[in-house]
Symmetry: C2
């Protein structure tokens, strides 16, 4: 099973992949049969193809992630708070999110859930 350090490294790789607009690096963190629920309560993106399509949009929107505080890990799951900056017509939308990543035995993410809603979206500064 992945260690705390493995899980923290995966979270940091996820943040870095957005910074680099590297879609492959994001998708490669996931198991082939993974599910993504973003936001929690919405339909699942299941499997590599659906997950790639979901993240392709986020990369295209130039979403950038900033971690808020340390990654928490419990067993094979990591939870982490972050802010997403999305450029929006000369300004920036900021979205406060908490994600959970459940990992499989090989250290790939098997289940992602993103906790955020309309009240967590705000207008940030100008770019």
């Amino acid at each position: 099973m992945p260690t705390h350090e493995d899980m923290v490294a995966a979270v940091k790789a996820y943040v870095d992949a957005f910074a680099q607009e590297n879609l492959n690096a994001i998708v490669n963190l996931y198991a082939d049969d993974a599910t993504v629920e973003d936001p929690v309560g919405s339909p699942l993106h299941s499997g590599a193809e659906a997950i790639r399509a979901f993240y392709a949009k986020a990369v295209e929107m130039r979403a950038k992630l900033t971690l808020n505080g340390p990654v928490r890990t419990a067993g094979n799951t990591a939870a982490f708070a972050f802010t997403v900056d999305v450029p929006n017509e000369g300004a920036v939308l900021q979205i406060d999110v908490i994600d959970t990543f459940r990992f499989d035995e090989r250290g790939r993410v098997s289940r992602m859930r993103a906790y955020w809603g309309p009240h967590n979206v705000r207008q940030g500064g100008s770019t």
Copy 2:
């Protein structure tokens, strides 16, 4: 169903109840048939009696909670990052945690999950 504001108020009431060492105020946030999984992966505390016994220990240890950033809400679930301070022989243990609260239709917490592990515990300053 509870609104964003209802869920944020419940989280703040939870933090305040620890500050006031008010066990009843903590337990009253929960539905009678709620479950508490703290940390994630450990056996569930199921139902009012087990939940009361679990929190009685935390209150006895004088655990105090400080929120780290805004409460995230998705549908009927809130997620929030916080630090717990626990007095420990003249010093303070600090534990970084992320909790999720799922709410029932009446706005009571029906399921709580706490994400933290040994790597999220550190020695803080002296009291």
